[in-house]
Amino acid sequence: MATIVSVINQKGGVAKTTTSLNVASSWAKQGKRILLIDLDPQSSATKAVFGDQEFEKTIYDVIVNQAQIDDVIQKSETFGFDMIPAEIMLSGVDMQLAAHFGREQILKRKLEPIAHRYDSILIDCSPSLGLMTINALMASKDIIIPICPEYFSLKGIELILNTLQNIRVGLGYKVGVRGVIITRFRDRRIVKDVIHQVREKYDLHVYSNYIPDNIAVEEAHHCHKPVHTHAPRSPAAQAYMSLASELWI
């Protein structure tokens, strides 16, 4: 049975999608059976993997019960994992499901029949707090929080921890925090101070493989490839491969 993990930070621009794609691809390269779900209406992960390819059915259709989950799973040979694409229609789903019974656990129920086929299911969340983010958290055993080490990222962590507490109190489900991934790392004193604060103030595990600020990551997106394929010797590719191993333990 797959372990379901959400990659989440309610702050934007912290490399959630980049982290999801490259960790998922690194796991796949290590022989793991991986499903990546794009749950962001901006569909950045979908576009990074499949470019401008259009999909008739996406995760939106599954959520609103217009498609079976098996019908929306796409295989990416380049990245080595299965993926469920997203589309902009997801942005209106909160209104559509406002009066739906059990609306916060739709994704969890939809994933149940396919979870046994994968070793891990990774969910790339949108940088907002809406019904889809709640669905991702209710479906997940744990979350991973990517942060750029800066002041606003600390505020982002506070928001997430608050959201997890609200889910526990209001919906009766406890989601674990697996750890914090440092992205776009630069060797500056302020950066080290922020990392120190994450450890001390929030008592969260910080993964030891920091992802350096590296142009190879952006180039890889442009070529629709994982960074370990596009630039295998780049510092970012090596960091993501090591991070993937660290995350799996």
Binding site: H100, F101, G102, R103, E104, Q105, L129, G130, L131, I134, Q165, N166, I167, R168, V169, G170, L171, G172
Partner: protein
């Protein structure tokens, strides 16, 4: 009452459905010969007194059944030999799946005396097996008997 975000309200429950609520008290320290209780007053004004068990280092827990989303008040009490040693302020909130509070004792003698009067009420046992399993059936049959008598059946 605190603000309520509808995103964090269980859509599978209507207001008033009975749910199990986990009450946790953090940063509390009691000695071996002392007991920690939580006094919960539900929306109908009924107060139950439940002993809290150790959850973690300096953390205690109790599970009570409450009506979903209704207004409740609760208070933590440290007792020794049925005498109140310490008492927290009275907290208010909605009945949800978890209530987590930090231990902050009061030293108000009047409040302690008021809470002391509740001590003689029977404990709301954590062990459901100790409840009389036939009580509900007995009560129901009495109701049926009363109706049959009333209607001359």
């Amino acid at each position: 009452m605190t603000k309520s975000n509808p995103l964090f309200v269980d859509s599978t429950k209507v207001r008033g459905d009975v749910i199990g609520t986990q009450i946790e008290l953090r940063d509390a320290m009691i000695y071996d010969d002392e007991q920690l209780f939580v006094l919960v007053t539900n929306n109908q004004g009924m107060t139950t007194r439940t002993q809290m068990k150790v959850l973690d280092y300096r953390s205690y827990e109790a599970r009570v059944h409450l009506s979903h989303q209704t207004h409740v008040t609760f208070q933590f009490v440290v007792e020794k030999d049925s005498k109140i040693l310490w008492l927290s302020a009275q907290h208010t909130g909605r009945a949800q799946y978890a209530i987590v509070e930090e231990w902050e004792p009061l030293t108000d003698e009047t409040a302690i005396a008021a809470a002391q009067s509740l001590i003689n009420k029977p404990l709301n046992s954590l062990d459901h097996k100790s409840e009389d399993p036939n009580a509900w059936a007995r009560e129901s049959s009495m109701n049926v008997r009363a109706l049959m008598d009333k209607w001359g059946l």
